[in-house]
């Protein structure tokens, strides 16, 4: 019997070793190719995800719902105090709403006075969150709009209130959104009211730190941070969050978007900021330009 087994192992051994060698070469090769030409492999990854994850959709909705239900049931215990707190908050919000309505009317009046034409291309498409990154090392979500809906790499996504992240990886039916909390996320922002330019650099924590701040004295906890539009990939003026100071004295950003429940994401269509091709004609005074004109022609 023992002899039998050893001969059968001799028979399967070389084949197994060959298969293992092939597998090592394939896997190692994929990793090396990814390291050298990452966009191509990432496109492949997006295609694989696109073909697999939407198939899970029918099961994900009920399972997700059940898990949410259990989580909510745990929070029902705290319902009474929550209710009280919400009432208080509501009273405060009423005051704000009054202010907002007045501001909106004023804004409409001013826009009318200025005859402002809002950019008609700044529209959005809303997607449902299909899946999260599935790994604690990465912070991203998969949404169910993709190249078929005209989504382009680099577009900004928001929930109702604040910026959530940036589209990175578009497949036919799905696209991946890198959240602001991901370690690879870098978004240029501007702190108001001081106007300081910063980079919001995710580091895998719930509140991303502020980077490249020029003058710290001008920024106070509680200041609001908006996207600045520097670099041209991200539209300017979207609310990102408020500045807060962590116990170590480092400035971080409390994100405005509600990361606890990301269900629907709004992808903002953004076709880049148009370049002004000839700066001299815009900036320089007209007199010397007029003098140069004959030589130019």
């Amino acid at each position: 019997m023992a002899k039998d087994r050893s001969t059968s192992q001799d028979f399967t051994g070389p084949l197994r070793r060959l298969l293992l060698a092939v597998m090592i070469l394939v896997l190692g090769g994929i990793f090396l190719i990814w390291r050298i030409d990452s966009p191509r492999v990432e496109r492949f990854r997006a295609a694989v995800t696109d073909s697999i994850v939407p198939n899970f959709d029918w099961a994900m909705a009920p399972v997700n719902g059940t898990v949410q239900l259990i989580r909510n049931a745990q929070s029902y215990r705290a319902l009474a105090e929550q209710n009280e707190e919400l009432r208080r908050e509501l009273r405060r919000m009423r005051a704000w709403k009054e202010a907002a309505v007045q501001l909106r009317q004023e804004n409409a009046r001013l826009l009318d006075l200025n005859n402002v034409r809002l950019d008609p291309r700044l529209t959005h498409v809303t997607g449902v969150v299909l899946a999260d990154s599935g790994s604690p090392f990465r912070q991203s979500v998969l949404i169910n709009v993709g190249a078929k809906d005209g989504v382009v790499d680099g577009w900004a996504t928001m929930d109702g209130i604040g910026v959530v992240g940036r589209v990175s990886g578009v497949a036919a039916n799905t696209s991946r959104v890198i959240l602001l909390t991901d370690a690879s996320s870098r978004i240029p922002g501007v702190v108001q009211p001081s106007g300081q330019r910063v980079i919001i650099a995710g580091d895998n924590t719930a509140a991303p730190p502020v980077d490249f701040l020029e003058n710290r004295d001008l920024v106070r906890p509680g200041d609001q941070v908006f996207s600045s539009g520097d670099g041209g990939v991200f539209p300017a003026g979207l609310l990102i969050g408020t500045v807060a100071e962590d116990p170590g004295g480092r400035l971080r950003i409390r994100l405005a978007a509600d990361y606890e429940r990301l269900e629907f994401l709004r992808v903002l269509r953004h076709y880049g900021i148009e370049d002004v091709p000839d700066t001299a004609q815009v900036i320089a005074p007209s007199a010397p330009l007029a003098g140069l004109e004959p030589r130019d022609e």
Binding site: M23, L27, R35, T49, G134, P136, A206, R261
Partner: protein
């Protein structure tokens, strides 16, 4: 190897594929959008190890490599690297399955723990050497730790619920 045992073999392999799919499904469920300070165990790898120790023939190289690569792709890891290291570790376990069959659970847990720590360390080392900015030492250390702690549970599920058990001496004649 008759027809019945061969179809049973493929059914069990199909069971492993299904198991990996279920694990990936629960990983991808959109529940965790806020970053955590620690990482849970690497379930796919743990089950691969547990099955490789018990029934090496149920997790052949190509199947296991393909599934690990799929997990890499879906979970956003650098594709291929974790799969390669975990596959090598599983193959080592398969080669030692004969010895481990006769030893105690404690010996197996120790062996697997060493492999998990080794794979995690090698993974981080390669990422550092290749200058991939995906390195989070505390996260991967906590992942290795929780994986080691979770392995006995995985063995329990594999042995008790899925009935994938080490073949007893009597089974060898019928084993495919």
């Amino acid at each position: 190897m008759n027809d019945a045992s061969s179809s049973r073999l493929w059914a069990m392999r199909g069971g492993f594929v299904l198991l990996v799919m279920v694990i990936l499904f629960f990983h991808l469920l959109p529940q965790q959008m806020v970053p955590r300070a620690w990482a849970g165990p690497e379930w796919v790898t743990l089950f691969a190890f547990a099955w490789a120790v018990r029934r090496p023939e149920l997790v052949p190289v190509l199947l296991l490599g393909g599934l690990l690569l799929l997990a890499d792709l879906l979970l956003g890891r650098p594709p291929g690297l974790w799969a390669l290291l975990a596959l090598l570790a599983a193959e080592r376990l398969k080669a030692r399955a004969q010895t481990l069959r006769d030893s105690t659970l404690a010996a197996e847990v120790l062996e697997v723990s060493l492999l998990i720590v080794g794979v995690s360390a090698a993974y981080q080392l390669v990422l550092v050497v290749m200058l991939v900015d995906d390195v989070s030492l505390s996260l991967s250390a906590s992942q290795a730790l929780t994986s080691v702690l979770a392995y006995p549970l995985v063995v329990l599920i594999t042995h008790g619920v899925m009935r994938v058990r080490k073949s007893a001496p009597g089974d060898l004649e019928t084993a495919p």
